[in-house]
């Protein structure tokens, strides 16, 4: 009797997790550009995986430690991997969607580049003199 209740609780938590994973994959399909896809993918997959593992914990309570380590691992690695993917995408100039409102990083880089170009010019002028 007791184990049955635990199994039902664990199963429902795991199902909630898989629903989040499903929503994440729908997000991957619907979002317009790489960055928004990464947004949907990262968040949904993190909570989805955590909930699935929690559900498993209710079914196999003796594996508590291993699930804790797994959850910690997912929490640490997931944001890092998505950050690296997005950064790489930005550096090879994967285009942003047309809906994009503002791109501060580009502005910053343009400022930096114009400053560098200016410094180069000044240096050349000084060497010329």
């Amino acid at each position: 009797m007791d184990t049955n209740i635990l199994e039902i609780i664990g199963g429902s938590i795991a199902i909630a997790g898989s629903i989040f994973l499903l929503l994440g994959s729908i997000g991957l399909y619907r979002m317009p550009d790489a960055y928004n896809r990464i947004q949907a993918g990262t968040k949904a997959s993190t909570l989805g995986t955590i909930l699935s593992l929690l559900g498993l914990f209710f079914i196999f309570p003796s594996w508590f430690g291993k699930f804790m380590v797994l959850i910690l691992f997912v929490l640490i690695t997931n944001p890092v991997s998505s950050h690296v993917l997005a950064r790489a995408a930005y550096h090879i100039m994967v285009p942003l969607t047309k809906l994009t409102q503002v791109d501060k990083w580009k502005e910053r880089r343009e400022i930096d580049e114009s400053r560098k170009a200016h410094l180069r010019k000044v240096k050349i002028q000084k060497e010329g003199e």
Binding site: L23, D33, G65, K66, V69, L75, S82, H83, L99, W105
Partner: protein
């Protein structure tokens, strides 16, 4: 200073050992204790990653509060994504905004960037000096101060005490 780093590394290794083994038998605990006592000296020269980590009671309390805030933000983030994905009009308003951080230590910044990534509608693209470039799915303003308040400050106040 150096001993604190070894102590943190030892605690982490020992807790991991206990979690993985999942038993409190005498031999297993003693073996893990011995191994995690020796390993920090072999593995890390100075373990500089932990230098800024504070071990005061306030910092430990704040790390629990931080974890709590973070988990709430994570759940919120998921419902946010679910709402955006499921609504037929796809209500997104994306852009890359700049925010400033007051944190100085490397580990503090890493954890801040990771938490930004897992909170509603934002993820970290790049850190240059003290400015973080964040991709935001629903841009509300382009002002640096305002965005800092909206995105960063909820975690920063805890991380400041924990890592400085």
């Amino acid at each position: 200073m150096k001993w604190k780093n070894y102590l943190i590394m030892f605690i982490m290794l020992f807790v991991f050992w206990l979690l993985l083994n999942n038993s409190l038998e005498k031999e297993i605990v003693l073996l893990g204790f011995g191994i995690s006592l020796v390993l920090p000296f072999l593995l890390c020269g100075k373990c500089e990653v932990f230098t800024n980590l504070s071990l005061s009671p306030k910092a430990i309390l704040y790390s629990f509060l931080f974890l709590f805030t973070f988990l709430i933000a994570l759940v919120k983030a998921n419902f946010d994504v679910a709402r955006r994905v499921l609504s037929p009009s796809l209500p997104i308003n994306p852009g890359i905004v700049e925010v400033k951080t007051k944190l100085k230590s490397k580990i503090g910044r890493v954890i801040l960037a990771d938490s930004i990534t897992l909170t509603p509608g934002t993820f970290t693209l790049e850190i240059i000096d003290d400015s973080i470039f964040v991709h935001w799915i629903d841009v509300q303003s382009t002002d640096i101060q305002e965005n800092t308040k909206l995105i960063v400050s909820q975690f920063e106040k805890y991380l400041e005490v924990m890592y400085g």
